[in-house]
């Protein structure tokens, strides 16, 4: 595992690379979508906190619809063909169990991922979403492999 360059993915950011990277991130109600192009061995990942951009803030990848669009763009810039890209979806747990009216952000985050990916005809080949727990994930950009573990943690 040592030959991998490492990157810690913060919320509201994106990462994509042609080099073999190991990207780590922690998810609560946030969702991370790992895109992988098996032909060119290009991997990219985002980490968004809310489903849809409200039109007011800066149009940053804090919002699902923007984060997905921008990640695909980044992959294409790096040389991927849209038709080759496949996706894995992680996160979207609803950790705030106390307040059931917490608007189910996790669930809405997952839904936006599925809708947009379907629209873009990008196949979702694996996923681990929802539930009550947080997740740690490790994404290998060259193989598209994702290692995944549940954690008992508060909101991220």
């Amino acid at each position: 595992m040592n030959q991998y360059l490492q990157h810690f993915l913060y919320p509201s950011t994106l990462f994509a690379s042609r080099e073999p990277y190991m990207v780590k991130t922690i998810l609560g109600s946030c969702v991370a979508i790992c895109l992988w192009d098996p032909v060119n061995k290009i991997g990219g990942i985002n980490h968004y906190m809310l489903p849809n951009w409200n039109g007011n803030d800066l149009a940053s990848p804090k919002y699902g619809n923007i984060a997905i669009e921008k990640l695909i763009e980044r992959m294409v810039q790096l040389g991927s063909k849209r038709d080759n890209i496949q996706a894995k979806i992680f996160g979207g747990g609803d950790l705030i169990a106390v307040d059931r009216s917490a608007m189910l952000i996790g669930e809405r985050n997952i839904r936006v991922a599925r809708i947009i990916l379907e629209e873009k005809k990008i196949p979702v080949i694996a996923s681990s979403t929802g539930g009550r727990k947080g997740r740690k994930i490790l994404f290998f950009t060259d193989t598209g492999e994702v290692r995944h573990k549940f954690i008992d943690k508060r909101e991220y």
Binding site: S12, T13, L14, I26, S60, E145, R147, K153
Partner: protein, 299 residues
Amino acid sequence: MTNLSDRQLLKELKDRLQERTKYEHEIKVLSQELQVVTTRFKESEALKSHFISNISNEIVNPFTSILGLSKSILAVEKNDWKKVVSMVALIHSEAFNLDFQLKNIFVAAKIEAGEVTPNIAKVNVRNIIQTMIESFGLVARKMGIEIEFNFDIAYGFGKNFYFKTDSEKIKLIMSNMLNNALKYSYKDSKVIITVTADEDFLTISVQDFGTGISEKNQKIIFERFKRLDSGINSINRGHGLGLSITKALLDVMGGSIEIDSKKGEGSTFTVRIPEAKNVVDGFSGEGNDIFFDDDDEIF
């Protein structure tokens, strides 16, 4: 299909009709939603084109002044050298403004590209704010505004107060708050900066005694490109990005911002920033930890 009795047929028809009404209703709701989205989109487009014309003014005007002024300096006779000083001061203030605007635009672009991450170090807070105040000193002096700095952190005699945070982001947030405070102040007034720390939070507030913001407007000032006086005759310069940037940067650091303002009496903007931890929960700083075990699920 098998034979249906009249009764069954009627029921079936009724059901289908009902279903149809349901769908019609759904379509109505959806098209209403679409209308809302379209209006928003139009608004956004208008703001964007406004922004572009604004921004070209912001960049072109200072450049024109700088070019003109430096040309005049080149033409000054040797014995008139005293004139140069005032012209250099003007060049400085134009360049300062240009630098400020460009920094904001580049950071906004970085935020929108998803490339802004916290960069944590031990920061000498007093020092950093002092530097920001000094950099705005010329602008403030020109307007006759006094910047008062209250550093209310008791921290050992003769020792510096350090806070783990992102110094570049604090600088940008401070410069935007200061710039706004000065921009909306009246001549010959005061801007008060107060810094306090409690437990794990750093609080910085910037108070001005300027135009103030009505309650209705307080809700929209964080929207990007939004300026309350965006008319062509507006006396104030700017692109309306400052506060959206401030908010996004605070987001990255887990901080928050509050406004307290009354129209005609001035505004106080207060930011609260939590102290950053050395370790992001579950990750060591170097990232060489054994992060995963054999019982990981692999996807």
